[in-house]
């Protein structure tokens, strides 16, 4: 009991010291502060390691946040020990890798899709739009890396709001763009002759995706409904899901439905319809082949007809699975924090969902663009250093057509 008391007093004095030292420091230039904090942290880290200080001496989360900005730290987090330096550096490293991947992947997509004439189709506008949303998500990564080194949100409230708004716009936007892509593909594949969206319709839908992302970005930003706050290691920001009031609960429920359930429903519906129509087309073609007395045979050890349907199903499932991977962790964490047992929400477990979401935003270009034969060709042409080898389509046209290898029934006269 006494040890606990002494622990609390130690922590509170330390926090007070920290806040006073920060107050002094605030007068100095920003760079100097960063540098000093960095030195201070390094020194502390070394000290910790050398003297093997007991755990009791560790800081609690939010120790370095001055009193003026204490609002940024929900009391829930203050109960946890602050993560060590290496946690932050590790997080920064992971995010740095994601940043590079996202910029290379999505940058290539935007660059090639918007400059190549052959790729400028209405359907590809959605791919570009998705890449832009993903890039917006990547823009917040440098902020996080800086935050990780100072172990607090840089720019306090404003920085936090910007960070969270970027995340919200890109997250909700990419979710609904996924749904829009599903719709476009469904239209194109189910009626290949005249079903695909024209440029105007595609543009309207893209504007719509940005509007879709707006309510849950602007309202918390303006603090009209919900608010943005720090989460986890206090280096990332998101909407507030910890406040224990009715407003927050409704907000979390609404954002859950708006940015997770509705896009997910669209994605599931359109891809399942798409697979259905592919199956219908395949069946119709098989019937016609049968009527012409050509019997489809298994060609060279592989049933190609079946694989058409299976391949589509696989791609559709991959996209669905990626969506689930990206946003389910976030949904689960926020729902538990709001409606369930929030003791389960540790700083680490609340940092993880953001990593998932950002990882998927780096994978999007691979899933959507690399599957695109023309994009691969273009990439081969422009970036030989990438070592991608995509064959140009042959002029004869026979080699690439999916051939239903067929042969006349030998005994059809019998």
């Amino acid at each position: 009991m006494s040890s606990l008391l002494s622990y609390i007093t130690t922590v509170s004095t330390m926090r007070r010291q920290a806040s006073t030292s920060q107050a002094i420091m605030r007068r100095r230039s920003c760079d100097e502060i960063l540098f000093m904090i960095f030195l201070f942290e390094c020194g502390k880290m070394r000290a910790t390691r050398i003297s093997q200080m007991p755990n009791v001496q560790d800081h609690l989360l939010g120790w370095n946040i001055p009193q003026d900005h204490m609002e940024l730290v929900h009391p829930h987090w203050r109960g946890f020990v602050a993560p060590g330096k290496y946690w932050h550096i590790g997080m920064a490293l992971v995010y740095f890798m994601l940043l590079v991947m996202s910029f290379v992947g999505n940058g290539c997509v935007v660059w090639i899709f918007s400059t190549s004439k052959a790729l400028r189709t209405p359907s590809n506008l959605f791919i570009i739009n998705l890449a832009i949303f993903d890039l917006v998500m990547a823009v917040e990564i440098p902020m996080l890396i800086v935050n990780s080194f100072v172990e607090r949100p840089v720019g306090w409230e404003l920085g936090c709001d910007i960070y969270a708004a970027l995340g919200s716009v890109s997250g909700i936007g990419s979710a609904i763009t996924n749904a829009a892509i599903a719709y476009d593909r469904y239209r194109t594949i189910s009626c290949p002759i005249d079903g695909r969206l024209n440029g105007k319709q595609a543009a309207v839908m893209i504007v719509f995706t940005w509007f879709w992302a707006m309510p849950f970005t602007v309202l918390p930003f303006a603090k009209i409904w919900g608010r943005y706050t720090t989460e986890g290691f206090l280096t990332t920001c998101s909407f507030d899901f910890l406040s224990d009031d009715q407003d927050t609960k409704v907000f979390v429920g609404a954002i859950f439905a708006w940015s997770y359930c509705i896009p997910m429903m669209f994605i599931v519906y359109f891809y399942s319809q798409l697979i259905k129509s592919v199956r219908r087309h395949e069946k119709m073609l098989r019937e016609q082949a049968k009527k012409m007395n050509v019997k489809s045979l298994v060609s060279t050890g592989q049933d190609k007809e079946r694989s058409t349907e299976m391949r589509i199903a696989k791609v559709a499932f991959t996209i669905f699975f990626l969506f689930v991977c990206a946003w389910t962790p976030y949904a689960v964490v926020t729902l538990i924090a709001t409606f369930g047992n929030r003791e389960l929400i540790t700083p680490f477990s609340s940092m993880l969902p953001a990593v998932f979401a950002k990882t998927v935003s780096c994978l999007d270009p691979w899933v959507y663009a690399i599957n695109h034969p023309r994009y691969r060709q273009e990439l081969t042409k422009r970036c030989q250093w990438m070592g991608i080898h995509e064959n140009e389509p042959s002029g004869g046209g026979q080699a690439e057509a999916v051939s239903v290898t067929t042969e006349r029934l030998k005994n059809d006269d019998a």
Binding site: H281, M284, R374, T405
Partner: protein, 414 residues
Amino acid sequence: MFALLLMAYVAAVKVYKKTTPNGKVTVYLGKRDFVDHLDYVDPIDGIVVIENDYLQGRKVYGQVTTTYRYGREEDEVMGVKFSKELVLCKEQIIPAKKDSNKDYTPIQERLLRKLGSNAYPFLFQFPANSPSSVTLQPGDDDQGKPLGVEYTVRIFVAEGDDDKGHKRSSVALAIKKLQYAPPTRGRRLPSSLVSKGFTFSQGKLNLEVTLDKEIYYHGEKVSANVIVTNNSRKAVKNIKLAVVQHCEVTMVNAQFSRQVASLETREGCPITPGASFSKQFFMVPLASSNKDRRGIALDGHLKDDDVNLASSTMVADGKAPNENMGIVISYSVRVKLNCGTLGGELQTDVPFKLMHAAQGAGEGSREGEGGGRDRKMKRTKSVERNRYSDNYANDDDDNIVFEDFARLRLNDPE
């Protein structure tokens, strides 16, 4: 002397030829258009000439494939292919199978005599129910191969039955399968009589449209006699007429219509209550007046100069029209009476057929005959013999004009 030369030229038989890229195998075809006479289809007859000592134990195969393309290449996402290739028949040509008949078609006999010992004949039959060649005109911004149904004869050198052959030693010839009009056009005059009542007023507006023929040949004027009897209290503001091409893509169960000729008139308008109006209108549906309009169906075209609108699909007696395959074409004359914004429209469609005139004069006796393939073969031969009879009389071997085979497709990327 000059006149004699000219005579010889006129009497000459045109033969199409194409050589493999390595120059070792040459294929000769007597024609590129094969006519579906409903009860039988012209067989694909040709000759393969091999360079001395080229084969060295390898075999030469021939196959007829039909390619359905029912969606644009650029729209192929997720690994979907909007094209299917069906191998209708595949046979070994060299060495000749023992059971193959020695019954050659006239053109084969002539070519065999001319091309010597390295020439080998081949004969393929279109399977029953095979669809006609149709090309859907690509739009301005469309890339890739045009949509439609096309046929290809492919001759290739291979080691065995499973070997698909190499590009250098294979040759593909695009051919067309067409339908010609029956020799007699029939007496029936297609007509339609419709009437329309109005919600808040008594009396009816009657419209009768009669065409002067059931079957029109390509390039002919379509004449529609329009009789309007206005017993209603509304006035007819104007009259619109159009020749509509209906296109049913059975592979994906899609239908669409395009106007291929149209006119709008205010002649006799307004047709006031109690008045009547009668006039004959003429329209000429032509491919040349519909250049660059996307989705207009054309008879599968191999060269720029032989473009015409797709012929109506004919159905053999005793077969349901919905058993048709590939792309099914039909035409109608559509007449629309416009009764102003409140009155609405009265519209009717009168179906007709647009076809090529039947070939040859002596074919009238064909009707009503059934019979096996042998009989059909003989009949084909007799027709062919008619065609080439002059040359037989002269027995002039040099009267063969070789024409290099046209390029495979209209807008090959190369």
